[in-house]
């Protein structure tokens, strides 16, 4: 299906072009949205495709963020190695949480992942001498450069964010269209039947959760590297709920839904918080409208009604 790839490459091209007509302020915001979209794509692999409703993804984001920033600081690493460490950190954390939490399913899984994430958040505060606790810490300049480009400046930061986003997006398209992607969906749709087709639900779900953790870790590391700061606020429950909102809004189980959801939610919060301090009211209203009129999210609805080939 060539049009699937064409659509995704077109989005990447449009995003690349966006930096030429957006103001520096909005360019930075778009870089932020793309990094958050990578996080949401990871969440979508677990929730949208495999059907695991996690409330603990902030832990994977934070694992990536702190693996990258603490180790980069300790060993004086550049952005590239720091990102790799972050990805590994997110994946390892997902593997260890998954080994325990995947003994449960459904609501219990949600509670257990939430519990692990809270424990992670409290651990970051407890080891405040190293992690900077609530205050966090800025990343050294050395960690914020790659191939001689300073990632604290607008253009290199935008290009770095876009590169990561594009890679994550294209990998996710290939993944969900692969046989393993089909197996992930089978877990979501009918776990018992999948078992009777020879699949071990535990290992399939664990693999999907680890993939999800790798994405989350990449996003956490990239956020710290590109915006120069690591802090405990990224490990709070808020960052477990945000990717869920992005995915629900954009469309769970669609490859472009996470980006669309992140973009719209970011814009909504940005606009609403300019009007009132009660901006969460608007977020809530948007979610109620979503549940009432498009429970499958924007792209989920579009796929169901009009564009059936959307992956």
């Amino acid at each position: 299906m060539k049009k699937v790839w064409a659509l995704h490459l077109a989005l990447i091209a449009v995003l690349f072009a966006a930096q030429f007509w957006l103001s520096p302020y909005h360019t930075t915001n778009l870089a932020r949205i793309m990094v958050l979209a990578v996080f949401a794509m990871g969440y979508n692999l677990a929730f949208g495709y495999t059907g695991m409703l996690s409330l603990g993804h902030a832990l994977f984001l934070a694992a990536g963020m702190y693996s990258a920033s603490l180790l980069a600081q300790l060993w004086g690493l550049g952005a590239g190695p720091a990102l790799v460490l972050g990805i590994a950190g997110g994946g390892l954390m997902a593997a260890s949480v998954g080994l325990l939490a995947l003994r449960t399913a459904g609501v219990s899984f949600m509670i257990v992942t939430l519990m692990f994430a809270q424990a992670g958040y409290l651990a970051i505060l407890y080891f405040g001498a190293t992690t900077g606790g609530d205050e966090g810490f800025p990343l050294p300049a050395a960690t914020r450069s790659v191939f001689g480009f300073d990632l604290s400046t607008d253009t290199p930061r935008f290009i770095a964010a876009l590169t990561l986003f594009a890679a994550a997006l294209l990998i996710s398209v290939a993944l969900v269209r692969s046989p393993f992607g089909r197996t992930m969906v089978a877990m979501r749709e009918n776990e018992e039947r999948s078992r009777m087709l020879g699949y071990n639900p535990f290992t399939v779900k664990l693999a999907a959760l680890i993939l999800s953790g790798l994405y989350s870790g990449a996003a956490g590391a990239a956020y710290a590297i590109l915006f120069g700061y690591a802090g405990a606020s990224f490990a709070t429950i808020q960052y477990s709920i945000l990717p869920m909102l992005y995915v629900l809004l954009g469309g769970a189980g669609t490859t472009l839904g996470p980006f669309l959801g992140a973009l719209l939610m970011f814009a909504l919060i940005e606009t609403a918080s300019g009007l009132t301090s009660a901006y969460l009211f608007f977020v809530g209203a948007a979610l109620v409208a979503l549940v009432l009129f498009a429970p499958k999210g924007i792209l989920g609805t579009i796929r169901e009604r009009w564009v059936r080939w959307l992956p």
Partner: protein, 239 residues
């Protein structure tokens, strides 16, 4: 037609599972021979589905053993048994309703390897006559077609034993004929264990029949032997 040399493929010895006071499966010793079509019959609640659940690993027995080709598989998890060649098709149709017909069968095919996946998937669909419906969402199929899809998924696993749990339930007469022909065409490459209420189908396709009653084996034999057995007539055929 019974195979000349009878090699046991599945054997159970004293297989038992009680639910409290209910003896669902009570000391069943049973042999399924390589290449045969073996029907499992008995009144409602005789323990047929529970018995095949023990064979497929959906339930674990309290005592007794299950051998597959001589290997003890009594406590292996269900997905491992599927990989070893025991395929189970559900009594109540259990497909992936929101996935396409193609994806449903592809999931079964790719479970054994992803080589030539599209070709093998289409071949499995053609075998049950569902070719041409690949892109349709499975839940939009007619009930008869959903049953066939269920069987296609079992077949696509390329099993040594295919357990069919009431496959003709709810099918129209014409569909039943077609289905009977399909089942007959599978043996002796695939060994079939068939739970079936439709006596015509049973007498038609089965090479051997085992009758369960109150969780225990009442009789085993050829269709003619079973028909002539006074115990069976009393307990089950009611004649």
């Amino acid at each position: 037609m019974a195979p000349l040399i009878e090699t046991p493929l599945i054997e159970t010895r004293n297989l038992t599972l009680h639910f409290g006071g209910l003896k669902a499966v009570d000391g069943v010793t049973f042999t399924l021979n390589q290449g045969e079509i073996h029907a499992l019959i008995g009144p409602n609640g005789a323990g047929k589905t529970t018995f095949v659940s023990l064979l497929s690993g959906r339930r674990m027995p309290q005592s007794g053993t299950i051998l597959l080709g001589g290997e003890d598989i009594t406590f292996l998890p269900a997905h491992v048994r599927v990989r070893k060649g025991i395929a189970y098709t559900f009594q109540i149709t259990s497909i992936f309703p929101r996935l396409s017909v193609f994806d449903n069968v592809a999931l079964a095919v790719q479970s054994g390897g992803t080589k030539d996946l599209p070709t093998r998937t289409r071949a499995a669909l053609a075998r049950v006559g569902l070719d041409g419906l690949e892109d349709q969402e499975a839940q939009t199929l007619s009930y008869g077609h959903q049953r066939l899809l269920e069987v296609a998924m079992g077949l696509a696993l390329n099993p040594r034993v295919l357990i069919l749990d009431e496959p003709t339930q709810g099918l129209a007469a014409s569909e039943i004929d077609r289905f009977t022909a399909l089942v007959e065409s599978l043996a002796p490459q695939t060994t079939i264990l068939l739970i079936e209420h439709n006596m015509e189908v049973v007498m038609d396709v089965a090479s051997r029949i085992t009758v369960l009653n109150f969780g225990a084996v009442l009789a085993t034999g050829t269709p003619a032997e079973i028909r002539a057995n006074p115990l069976v007539q009393e307990a089950y055929l009611g004649a």
